[in-house]
């Protein structure tokens, strides 16, 4: 009988910690808001450094409060980036000067999450000497609603399974108290305190809960390890592999708090039940 509870409780804990794992990793993999609200601007070729400097200043002046950071990436830096990616044998294929002619210098602008991106981008396009404006947040905006919905679903699953878990623990303690009622009432009549009377059923519930938490966490760890393994086999997803993490300190603390909360609740419930049943006088 207890085994069935342990199985279901482990499943609940497994689901709870998996939700935490997913939530924690989605923000890591997809980055935070500042990662998402980046505008990439390419400047017309062959501009004098003074002209570029004045373009940068003009961008900054559009909205000082909503533009967090403006970084210039010169043609030389872009060439270095390209060379890093291209295989060695391609070096010397182009003359540096030729490349500088081909590549436009770029500017990376980071907007704050609250920024009115559309109007800022419009104003950027109007600055003379600017060739192209690409807002990386465009696609994010489209997925954002799906993303928030998914997050709400995860939160709901978390709360739902936490309630189910608490319910299971409560039912388990109730059954244990009823099945040991005879011995509890006998001990109460012999002068045991309520704590003494329910020591045995409560220590059983504690052990069952701990076992369930350990099995549930192990399940999550296993799933995480399998996913990581699968990802590492796919080189395209290397960046996810690097960023993915197992349960962090916040998630672990949340799980620990949940465990303590459940134990406190079942302790309180058994105390109340036993006092009501066997210490009526008081």
């Amino acid at each position: 009988m207890k085994i069935i509870y342990i199985i279901f409780m482990s499943l609940c804990v497994g689901i709870l910690s998996s939700v935490l794992l997913v939530k924690q990793n989605t923000s890591i993999i997809f980055g935070d808001a500042s990662d998402l609200y980046t505008v990439n601007i390419s400047v017309d070729k062959s501009q004098s450094p003074e002209k570029i400097e004045s373009i940068l200043q003009e961008i900054k002046n559009i909205d000082k409060s909503q533009i967090k950071k403006v970084t210039l990436i010169s043609s030389q830096e872009l060439i270095a980036d390209v060379e890093k990616v291209l295989p060695n044998y391609s070096s010397g294929l182009f003359e540096k000067e030729e490349l500088e002619q081909i590549l436009n210098p770029a500017v990376e602008v980071q907007l704050s999450a609250e920024a009115n991106s559309a109007s800022i981008i419009e104003k950027m396009k109007m600055i003379t000497g600017i060739n192209q404006v690409v807002f990386s947040g465009d696609w994010v905006e489209k997925f954002k609603s799906i993303f928030t919905a998914a997050n709400h679903i995860l939160d709901t699953i978390f709360i739902l399974f936490f309630i189910i878990l608490s319910f299971l623990i409560t039912v388990l303690i109730r059954n244990l108290l009823i099945s040991t009622k005879e011995s509890i009432s006998l001990q109460a009549l012999m002068g045991a305190t309520p704590q003494q009377s329910f020591f045995k059923p409560f220590s059983q519930i504690m052990i069952a809960t701990f076992i369930s938490y350990i099995i549930g966490m192990a399940m999550t760890f296993l799933i995480g390890a399998v996913i990581r393994q699968k990802i590492s086999e796919n080189t395209d997803l290397g960046f996810i592999h690097d960023r993915m993490s197992f349960l962090n300190q916040t998630s672990l603390s949340l799980i620990a708090v949940g465990l303590i909360f459940n134990l406190v609740i079942s302790y309180g419930l058994s105390f109340m039940y036993i006092r009501k049943e066997f210490y009526k006088n008081d």
Binding site: S183, L189, M190, G191, A192, P194, Y279, K280, N281, D282
Partner: protein, 225 residues
């Protein structure tokens, strides 16, 4: 030591299980609570062991009203009480030694004190050879003696026994009776409920005996024999 003043107990509103009960009992008394089945004997014991509350009237211990007991006082009172249940209520998962040790463990006696006290009652009640046996494997008479041993091992001030001889043959009943007489001679107040008045006639006259006769929840007789 314990006194009842105009105690009433009703389970359903229309009928009294106990009606206007008043008496007091002192240490060293041996009291037989007699009366037909349904008279209210078990109910009276439930009040005395704080399993039930009085509906009205006052039940007090050393002049302190028991209905005012807080949890701590209730626990302390119960630790000075020994109860022999009609159906024994032994713990089947514990052997005889451990069954008898339960009240001492609850009161946190040391291991040494426990083994000394349990061994001496085992000896006294002729149970020494059964120390390691389990309740399901001993006879009815032996179970009864284990139940009594458990009720007295912690030297209670008051011992209550509900139909303690109901399941026993004449010979065993008499030996249990003499155990109770010894206990009261040692200063324990003993109260025995029985519906079998014949049984009273078998008591030896070495200790004074008091009879309280209940019928339909009322005290009809309260006399010394």
């Amino acid at each position: 030591m314990i006194s009842l003043k105009h105690v009433y107990k009703t389970y359903d509103s229309d009928r009294h299980a106990l009606r206007d009960i008043s008496f007091s009992l002192n240490s060293q008394e041996l009291i037989f609570l007699t009366g037909p089945s349904g008279a209210g004997k078990t109910t009276l014991f439930k009040l005395l062991s704080l399993q039930e509350k009085t509906s009205s009237g006052e039940l007090s211990c050393h002049n302190k009203s028991m209905s005012d007991f807080n949890l701590k006082q209730m626990v302390e009172y119960r630790r000075k009480l020994g109860i022999v249940f009609q159906d024994f209520r032994l713990m089947t998962e514990l052997n005889i030694f451990d069954n008898i040790a339960v009240p001492l463990k609850i009161q946190k006696y040391s291991k040494k004190e426990i083994s000394f006290a349990v061994e001496s009652v085992l000896e006294r009640f002729g149970l020494a050879e059964h120390a390691k046996s389990f309740p399901d494997y001993i006879s009815g008479g032996e179970k009864q003696r284990v139940a009594i041993a458990r009720a007295v091992v912690h030297k209670p001030d008051l011992l209550i026994a509900d139909e303690p001889t109901g399941n026993l043959d004449r010979k065993n009943a008499l030996s249990v009776l003499s155990i109770f007489q010894d206990l009261s001679a040692q200063g324990v107040a003993v109260m025995i409920a029985t519906h079998d008045e014949e049984f009273l006639k078998s008591t030896s006259s070495r200790t004074s005996i008091r009879q309280i006769h209940l019928d339909a929840g009322q005290v009809l007789k309260d006399q010394s024999l």
